[in-house]
C-alpha cells in the first residue's frame, strides 16, 4: 500500500491529465469523424469509436501496470526489450500481413498489431541505457556511432517493411543527441539541408547557386575574417552547392514516380486534385472550412461524409479543424506543446541520466509525430502516414505511445530514489 500511495503522491499530474485529455479528445473526434446516425452509440464496439474505447481502457490498464512495475526494470532490461523488438521486426518481415502496402502487421485474433510502433520506445530505452554509463567518453568514435547503430537497425528494418513514415521517426533522436552534447551545427546543418533541398526542388539549381553565393558573400562581409573562418565558409559553400545538385540528381534518379509527385504537389509545382493531391486538398478544405469557431461538434461535413480519407487515423486533425475551428485547432496544438515542454522540463530535473535521455527521447518522438502529422493535414509537409499521438484511431499506436509516456512518468516518480 505504501508503494501505491507513493506512486500517486509523486506522479506528475500535469502530464497525466494532459495525456487523459488528449486521449479523450481523440476518442470524441474519432466518433465525429466517422459519425453515422445508424450507429450513434459511442460505445458501439462494432464501430471504430467503440473499439477505440477498448484501446483506451486497455491502455490505461497498461499504464497502471507500468506504474506498478519497479522503475529499475526498464533500465535493467532495456537492451533485452530492444533485442526482443528487433526480433519481432525481423519476424514481421518474414510472416507479417500486408496492409495498405506495408508489410508490418501481425494479425492476431482479428486485431492487427504493428511491431514498428513498439520499436520506438524499445529503441528509446536502449539509447537511454547507453547514455546511462558512467564516465561515458563521447570523444571516442565508437561511443558516437553506437547510438546511431541503435537507431539505424530498427529504422532499416521498418524501411524494409515499406513503412517509410515510421522509419523516419528515428531521425527525431537527433534532438536527444543534441541534448547529450552533439554540436548544434548538426541541427543547423540539418536545417540547411532541408532549406537547400526544398529550394532546389522549387526553383532549380541555378537560382539556388546564386542564392548560396549571395548568402556566403553576406556572411563573409559580417564575420570575423580570419583564415579558419574563410576556409570553413568556402568549404560549406562548396558542400551546399554540391548537395543542391545531388538533390536534383537524387530525386530524378532514385525517387519513385509517386514520391516525386507527392513532393511536386506539396511544393505547389503541380496541381493534381484528383490524384496525389486529393488527400491534402480535401484535408485543407476540411480544416479551412472550419472557420474561426468551427462548424460545431458532429456538424462537420467533409470528414463525416468521407471527403477526407483516413479521417479517423492519419487525418484525424481534420475533424478538429472542421468542427472546432481555429479555436479548437489552437487548443489541440497548445496541449501538445504543453505536453512536450512539460516532458522536457521533467526530463531536465531527472537525476539519473537514463531517465533524462529517455525523457528527451519521448519528447523527440512525440514532437516528430505531431509535426509531421499536423503539418501534412495543413499542407506544410509531405503526406507521410504516421499517426497523431493519443488522437488517431488505432490500438498499436495508442498502446505504444502510452507505454512510451508512462515509462517516463514512472521514471519521474522514482527520480528521488537512490541511484
Amino acid at each position: 500500500m505504501r508503494e501505491r500511495n507513493n506512486i500517486f503522491s509523486n506522479i506528475d499530474w500535469q502530464i497525466t491529465v494532459l495525456y487523459l485529455v488528449l486521449v479523450l479528445m481523440g476518442w470524441l473526434n474519432i466518433y465525429a469523424a466517422v459519425y453515422n446516425e445508424d450507429y450513434s452509440n459511442i460505445f458501439d464496439i462494432t464501430q471504430s469509436y467503440g473499439k477505440q474505447l477498448i484501446w483506451i481502457l486497455s491502455s490505461l490498464f497498461l499504464a497502471l501496470l507500468i506504474l506498478l512495475t519497479d522503475a529499475r526494470f526498464f533500465s535493467t532490461f532495456a537492451y533485452l526489450i530492444y533485442g526482443f523488438m528487433i526480433v519481432l521486426l525481423l519476424i514481421v518481415l518474414a510472416v507479417g500481413t500486408e496492409i495498405s502496402g506495408s508489410k508490418s502487421w501481425f494479425q492476431i485474433a482479428g486485431f492487427g498489431l504493428q511491431p514498428a510502433e513498439f520499436a520506438k520506445f524499445a529503441t528509446n530505452l536502449a539509447i537511454a541505457r547507453f547514455f546511462n554509463q558512467q564516465h561515458l567518453n563521447l570523444s571516442h568514435l565508437n561511443n558516437r556511432l553506437f547510438p546511431l547503430v541503435l537507431m539505424g537497425i530498427p529504422a532499416i528494418l521498418i524501411l524494409l517493411q515499406n513503412d517509410t513514415g515510421s522509419a523516419l521517426v528515428y531521425s527525431s533522436f537527433i534532438l536527444v543527441l543534441y541534448r547529450m552534447g552533439l554540436s548544434g551545427n548538426f541541427l543547423l546543418a540539418g536545417l540547411l539541408v532541408v532549406l537547400v533541398a526544398v529550394s532546389t526542388l522549387m526553383v532549380g539549381t541555378t537560382y539556388v547557386l546564386f542564392l548560396l553565393i549571395g548568402l556566403a558573400g553576406m556572411l563573409f562581409f559580417f564575420m570575423k575574417r580570419n583564415r579558419k573562418n574563410i576556409i570553413s565558409l568556402v568549404a560549406l559553400l562548396v558542400v551546399a552547392i554540391g548537395f543542391a545538385y545531388s538533390v536534383e540528381y537524387g530525386v530524378d534518379r532514385f525517387l519513385g514516380d509517386h514520391q516525386k509527385a507527392r513532393i511536386n504537389v506539396l511544393l505547389g509545382k503541380t496541381v493534381d486534385l484528383k490524384g496525389v493531391g486529393y488527400n491534402v486538398n480535401q484535408s485543407k478544405i476540411a480544416i479551412g472550412s472550419g472557420g474561426f469557431f468551427g462548424k460545431g461538434y458532429l456538424n462537420g461535413t467533409q470528414t463525416k461524409y468521407n471527403f477526407v480519407p483516413e479521417q479517423s487515423t492519419d487525418f484525424i486533425f481534420c475533424t478538429v479543424g472542421e468542427e472546432w475551428g481555429f479555436v479548437g485547432s489552437t487548443v489541440v496544438i497548445a496541449l501538445f506543446l504543453l505536453l512536450l515542454v512539460r516532458i522536457v522540463v521533467l526530463a531536465e530535473r531527472q537525476r539519473s541520466e537514463f531517465s533524462r535521455v529517455y525523457g528527451y527521447g519521448v519528447a523527440a518522438i512525440l514532437f516528430f509525430h505531431f509535426t509531421i502529422n499536423v503539418g501534412m493535414t495543413i499542407g506544410l509537409v509531405p503526406v507521410i502516414g504516421i499517426p497523431l499521438p493519443f488522437f488517431s484511431y488505432g490500438g498499436s499506436s495508442l498502446w505504444a505511445f502510452t507505454i512510451l509516456l508512462f515509462i517516463f512518468i514512472k521514471q519521474d516518480i522514482n527520480r528521488n530514489a537512490l541511484l
Partner: protein
C-alpha cells in the same frame, strides 16, 4: 559551464517546439480564418443544389374538359467534378446511348461547369429509371431529377397548344430566370402564357457524401425554396368542336377558326394538316420535329395565324359597307352585269341584271362590286383619287384587316391591305387608278388575310361593326375574368350599313351560293369565296355566323387549292356550326363525304 550549456540546449529544444507551434497556428489562422476559398470548396463538396421543377399548369377547354396535362419523367444529371471511373459500357447500355456519347456529354457538361449539375440524359422513362435507380450508387457524380412532360389525352389542338422545349442559350442570356436544361413554351399558348404556365422553380439544398449519396438536407431546409406549380388555363376553345373540325379537315390543307362574336372568344382554332401534339414531347421530339419540318405539306405551319390568303368574294361586303358609309351606294343602287362578258371583270354567276346590293352579295356578282369599288376610289369626294384610296384602306383596316388583331397567340401575321405608297412604288405616283387596282374590288390582287382575320370579320358583321380582340384563354387559375386585356374595337362603318351586308349574307345562305347547305332550324349568314392565287388551284373559302338573329358563332374556313368555296369550305363550316349549336350533326352523308375526302395530292 556545462550546466549552463545544458540549460541553453534545453531552451533551444523548447524553442524549436514553440517555433513549429507558432508556424502551425499561423498557417491555421490563414486557411481557417483569412482564406475563405476552403469554405467554398467544402460547400461544393457537400452541397447539391437540386432545382425543384414545378409541373406546368393544366389546360382545360370552355366546358372544363382536360386538354393538356403532365406526366412524370426523370432527367439524369451529372456533376463532372465528382465523376469517377465507372463502368461506361454498362452505364450506356442501361441508358441506351452509344458509348462514344458518354465522353461527349461529359465534356459538354464540364465545359458548362465542373461543380454545377448539367443535364446528361434527359427524360428517362419510368422503366429505365427503375433499372438505373438500383445501380445509382456505382455512378458517382450522377443523380436523377424528376421532371414533367406534357401529355395530351386527345391528339388535337397541336397548333393551338404549341409545344414545350429546352431553353436556348439566347433565352438564358436574356432572361435570368432560365437555366440550362429548363423547359420553355416555344409556340402556341405554351409560349404566349409561358410565365403563367411555368410556375416558379424551387431549390432544395441537399448534402451528399463522398459517394454522392444524399445524406440529408442542408441546415434542415432553412434555405430551401418551394416550387410553385404553374397556374391552370381555362380556354375558350370547345374541345369537342375542335376535335370535330380536325376530323373534317383531315386530308385538307387550310384552316378553320370559329369565334364567339359577343366575346371574341375563339371556339375552334385549327390548321391542317396537323399532327398529334404528343409527337413533340420528350425524347422523340427532336426526331419527330425533323420529320414534320421536312414534310412538304408543312404540318408545323400554323395556317390560322400565318397563312395569308386572298379573301376572294368573302371580301365583297367590305366594299359594299364602305360604299354605303361614303353614301355612294344605297339599297336602291342598281348596277348592270353582263355575266361572263362583263368588263373589266367578268361575272361567274348567272343572275338577274341590273341588280341591287342584296342580290350582288347573294350571287357574288363581280361587276357590281367592281363598280362600287370604282365609285369609291373615283368619287368618294374628299379630293384626289389617291386620297380616296387612302380613306378606303382606313375603312378596310378598321374591320380588322391588314394588321395584327392582337390575339393572345404568338406569331400572328398581319395579312396585307396594300398602301397607296405600295402602288406609288409599283406604278409611279399618279399613274394608277381604280382600274389599275381593280382586283381589290373582289378580294384579289395584293389583298391577303389570315383565317383568323376572316373569322373575326364574320364576328364584326354579326356584331354590326365591333369586335373584341379574338383570344383563346378565358380565365387563368382562380381568377374570374381576364379583365380588360382584350379590347373592343369599333369599325368606321355605321351600324345601319351592316344590316344591309348581313341581309345579303342571309340571302347567300338561303337563296344564293350557300343554299344547298342550310341547317335545319338555324339561319346562317355567310359568304363563299373562291380565291385565285398564284400558287395553284383556287382556294375554297367560306365565312359565316349563326344563328342570324342571335349570333353564337362566327366562323371562317379556308381550304387551299380546293376549288369553289361552296364545294368544301362551306359544307365544313356548316357542319361545324350545326355541331356547335345543336351538339349533334344530322347531315351524316355530308359529314362522311367531308371527313373522307383527301384533297392533298
Amino acid at each position: 559551464m556545462a550546466q549552463r550549456s545544458n540549460v541553453s540546449r534545453q531552451q533551444t529544444i523548447i524553442a524549436i517546439f514553440l517555433v513549429i507551434g507558432v508556424i502551425y497556428i499561423t498557417r491555421l489562422f490563414y486557411i481557417q480564418v483569412i482564406d475563405d476559398s476552403y469554405t467554398l470548396s467544402a460547400n461544393n463538396n457537400v452541397l447539391r443544389y437540386v432545382t425543384q421543377y414545378p409541373a406546368r399548369g393544366l389546360v382545360y377547354d370552355r366546358n372544363g374538359k382536360l386538354l393538356v396535362y403532365n406526366e412524370a419523367v426523370y432527367d439524369l444529371m451529372v456533376l463532372p467534378a465528382q465523376v469517377k471511373e465507372i463502368d461506361t459500357a454498362e452505364f450506356c447500355s442501361l441508358l441506351q446511348i452509344p458509348i462514344e456519347g458518354f465522353r461527349e456529354r461529359l465534356d459538354k457538361a464540364k465545359k458548362y461547369s465542373r461543380y454545377k449539375p448539367s443535364l446528361f440524359e434527359k427524360q428517362i422513362s419510368k422503366e429505365t429509371y427503375g433499372y438505373l435507380e438500383e445501380k445509382m450508387y456505382r455512378y458517382k457524380g450522377f443523380f436523377v431529377q424528376p421532371r414533367t412532360l406534357r401529355k395530351y389525352p386527345k391528339p388535337i389542338g397541336a397548333h393551338l397548344f404549341g409545344y414545350v422545349g429546352e431553353v436556348t442559350q439566347g433565352v438564358i442570356d436574356k432572361n435570368p430566370y432560365y437555366k440550362s436544361g429548363d423547359y420553355i413554351g416555344i409556340s402556341g399558348i405554351e409560349k404566349a402564357y409561358e410565365e403563367i404556365l411555368r410556375g416558379k422553380k424551387g431549390l432544395k439544398i441537399k448534402m451528399v457524401d463522398v459517394h454522392n449519396r444524399e445524406v440529408g438536407s442542408y441546415a434542415e431546409g432553412k434555405y430551401d425554396t418551394v416550387s410553385v406549380t404553374g397556374q391552370d388555363l381555362y380556354l375558350s376553345i370547345d374541345g369537342d368542336l375542335q376535335e370535330y373540325g380536325e376530323m373534317l379537315m383531315a386530308g385538307k390543307m387550310g384552316s378553320v377558326v370559329a369565334i364567339e362574336p359577343s366575346s371574341g372568344e375563339i371556339l375552334a382554332f385549327l390548321s391542317s394538316p396537323t399532327y398529334d401534339p404528343n409527337l413533340l414531347v420528350g425524347r422523340v421530339r427532336g426526331h419527330n420535329f425533323k420529320l414534320l419540318s421536312e414534310d412538304p405539306v408543312k404540318p408545323l405551319l400554323n395556317r390560322a395565324l400565318m397563312g395569308a390568303y386572298p379573301p376572294g368574294s368573302t371580301f365583297k361586303m367590305v366594299n359594299d359597307l364602305i360604299g354605303l358609309q361614303e353614301g355612294l351606294l344605297t339599297v336602291n343602287t342598281h348596277y348592270f352585269c353582263q355575266g361572263p362578258g362583263s368588263s373589266p371583270i367578268r361575272c361567274t354567276h348567272n343572275h338577274q341584271s341590273p341588280l341591287d346590293v342584296y342580290v350582288a352579295i347573294q350571287q357574288s356578282c363581280n361587276p357590281f362590286h367592281w363598280q362600287v369599288f370604282r365609285s369609291i376610289i373615283n368619287s368618294a369626294g374628299h379630293g384626289s383619287l389617291r386620297d380616296n384610296y387612302v380613306s378606303w384602306r382606313k375603312h378596310v383596316m378598321s374591320l380588322g384587316f391588314g394588321e395584327k388583331l392582337g390575339t393572345d397567340m404568338q406569331f400572328e401575321l398581319s395579312g396585307n391591305i396594300p398602301s397607296a405608297e405600295t402602288f406609288d412604288k409599283i406604278y409611279g405616283r399618279g399613274h394608277w387608278n381604280a382600274m389599275t387596282v381593280r382586283s381589290l374590288s373582289i378580294g384579289q390582287g395584293e389583298i391577303l388575310v389570315t383565317p383568323l382575320q376572316l373569322a373575326n370579320f364574320a364576328a364584326v358583321l354579326s356584331n354590326r361593326g365591333t369586335y373584341i380582340e379574338p383570344h383563346v384563354v378565358r380565365t387563368i387559375g382562380n381568377q374570374k375574368t381576364l379583365g380588360t386585356r382584350f379590347k373592343q374595337h369599333h369599325s368606321t362603318i355605321d351600324r345601319d350599313h351592316f344590316e344591309v351586308a348581313v341581309e345579303g349574307m342571309r340571302q347567300v345562305a338561303t337563296l344564293g351560293t350557300a343554299k344547298w347547305y342550310q341547317i335545319e332550324g338555324i339561319t346562317m349568314c355567310g359568304k363563299t369565296g373562291t380565291a385565285e392565287n398564284p400558287h395553284g388551284d383556287d382556294h375554297s373559302l367560306f365565312m359565316a355566323f349563326a344563328p342570324a338573329d342571335n349570333p353564337k358563332i362566327a366562323i371562317a374556313v379556308v381550304i387551299e387549292n380546293a376549288g369553289f368555296g361552296s364545294t368544301w369550305a362551306l359544307p365544313i363550316a356548316s357542319l361545324m356550326i350545326e355541331k356547335y349549336l345543336t351538339g349533334t350533326v344530322k347531315r351524316t352523308e355530308i359529314e362522311e363525304k367531308m371527313k373522307t375526302t383527301n384533297l392533298i395530292n
